[in-house]
Amino acid sequence: MTGPVSPSDTALEPLVSGNALCKSFSGTEVLHSVTVAFCARQVHAICGENGAGKSTLLKIISGVHRPDSGSIVTQGRKHAGLTVHEARKHGIVAVLQDPTLIPTLSIAENFFLGSLPGRAIVRRREMTRSAQEALDRYGLPLDASELVAQLTLGKRRLLEIVRASEQHPRLVILDEPTASLSDSEVRMLAGVIGKLKQESAAIAYVSHRLREVLEFSDVITVLRDGTRVATEPAATLDENGLASLMIGSAVSRVTHRQESTRRRNDPRARGLTGRAIHLGASTAPFDLDLPVGEVIGFYGLVGSGRSSLARSLVGLGPLPGGEITLNGSAYRPTSPSHAARLGVMYCPEDRKGGGLFFRSSINENVSLITLRSYTNRADIISVRRERQAVIEVCRSVKLRPLNIDAKPSQLSGGNQQKVLLARYFAATPDVLILDEPTVGVDIGARRDIHEMIAAKGATGGAVVLISSDPEEVLDLCQHVYVFRDATVVAEFAGSRLTRDALTAAALVSPEGPPVP
């Protein structure tokens, strides 16, 4: 709970600092009086759970958002807020997760975009030479004349960081810099960061990978619910200590979670089982049991492999390795339509890109999967039977108003999600996988959706709930698989299923073998 701490003996003057920064979005305070100082030759990590306020803080520092109160101090001057342009003038550069390199140009051309040497004719040789010098200086084994398109995603990330470093910044903000990096590329990143420190820059570092945070950073600031809870030298923390600072003490509450209705001895109710599943060649194998009559949670951070597993289970990606069976027989789907015929369906997270049909009516959106049961032998749809069934399922998901001739674009986010779920609830698959079903919906709709999921789990097949919200998982699931780095790192059920256990497992490697 102290101010910025320097790892060396000399007191460091901060290059850029934020004082008592506050920020609210539409009435919700996401940042409450946060003070943070970035000093020269220091890697300063910002840690916190999803929604703790990390990205808001960094967006204020880099000029994307303006704080409601508080100030940013740089070069001895106090600013009530910066624009992106001003931040850049003060030497604050951010390397965010979205790629900004142009793949069809060479590395050198990307380096000099906007400031190509030469007047009418680009002095190509000079450009390539100085880009090559920069690559060599930062220890990247790359050829400056190579096309960016030929580089791995990890190399592109490194290149963006080097390009930002070439502008002699005061503060470099790195958002999840290791997200797509291989082990050897992570070592290259360490070299680049070392070089930046030599050049007296300050580095702000955001990552969910606590081990790397501890390895790379000198100082760590932890945010929780928009408040700074600690700023400590990295050397005084370990993975567990850091994780417990991030999580804090939270009360878990259970509402919908029900006793399993699993019938263990019935082979037809076994649902989907997987033995020694692995998503990639180098990821650790794990077992999976999705029995009929249960709500099973896939908990983990975004990008931890939950959705990739779900998508590959319905044939939207390459099949995972290992042995997978559905109700006792081998399960190898080739496409979502094949998976659906076998009895496994996946309801995607993205309502706009792959969920809803915005030019069609709610009726047509909902009846898509079950359409065949309302047709006669000549393939003609019985409008009466179709509408009756659609109205019934829409009523059960509490769609309000119950106008099935409207188009989804006329609905709120919560109602759109209900329409999407209604399509899947109208069908009766053995395994139904719901990917983040309550993202971006209001509290009322969220409650309705939770009730629907609980009801479906009790009466239907296995329901898999993919979520990065621990409350949701605790509310609904009897059994939870925790994902990290494209594998299952822990399993919880019964009394072991607590909020702290979930979030800790998603962040740090568990001691000993996973809970059986």
């Binding site: 319905v314 939207l316 496409s335 979502p336 339509s337 998976a339 659906a340 015929r341 369906m345 996946y346 995607p348 309502r351 706009k352 890109g353 792959g354 969920g355 809803l356 049909f357 915005f358 030019r359 069609s360 047509e364 898509l368 999967i369 359409l371 065949r372 047709t375 000549a378 393939d379 003609i380 749809i381 409008v383 989804p408 674009s409 006329q410 609905l411 986010g413 759109q416 399509r423």
Partner: protein, 337 residues
Amino acid sequence: MSPVQLASKRNRESQPTENGLPRSGRNPAGAFALRHRESARVLALVLLIAVGAAIRPGYLTEHSMVSVLLPAAPLAALATAEAFVMIRGKFVDLSVGVTASAAAVLAVSVSPHGTIPAVLAALAVGATIGLANGIGVGVFRGNPIIVTLGMSSVVGAITLAASGGSSSTLSPGMLNNFGTASLAGIPEVVLAVALILIVTAWWFAVSRWGRMMRLAGDSELGFRVSGGRPVAGTIVAFVLAGLFSAVAGILLASYVQTLDFTIAANDTLPAIAGAVIGGVSLFGGEGSPWRAGFGAVLFGFLTSVLLLAGLSPYQEEIVEGVLVVTIVYLTEKLLGR
């Protein structure tokens, strides 16, 4: 060519808006156009006929109406062919004109053996061309413009070789009688197209396959994730396009006295234009065969009024080309897609 390029360009720009509402929701002119799009089209037809009547008092006579509707009938079949692939999603078939020509030439050359073999042969060749297009676009994921343009080139050359480049004349028979007959003053060709359009539009609206094609065009990814088979929809759409092109060819063969092997080769753009003007979205998921047919009729009246206004056929084609691109642009812009 430009409606297609225009379409693909605009499509990239018009991703769904943030709140999921179509753009027109915020644009009063667009909202107005969206609400009155049906009446606007009927109004346009009435206006065109009124302008025609103002230019030449005899325009409203039965004879003039027939001379407009007769060429519009095969065009309506071609526009319907185009509508299937457009509704299925962001596709366009550039081979419909050449397919119609090939079917017409084949029908004429088989006609000495009887009308039914002639009709069946023409339909078979249309379906085969459509199947090849559908496999190229659906299974091999070929760009529909390239696949169907390549198909045009192949079919055009085969038609030329088979016909020897000379015009042919239909043998007297059932087909010939049908092409020249009228019922209550309306050519049977026009009545046949009207009947086919009504049945097709009904089928498209109430059948599972029609629904599937439209939903796959609305969101191909969503369709696939929900367990649909978009490739099957693509193949069916292209086969239907081939069949309806063949129908256009048969109709042409029935009433055109001396048939050139390029009879319908230049009708592809008017067919696309007819479908779009009638309200079939170039971006898929929206439209119906009757809309395409109505658009083709509208297009027929537009052509005839331009000719009445004293334009030479060349000038008429220039004006028409510019108008088509403008209308397609305005339709898509005002309706927010």
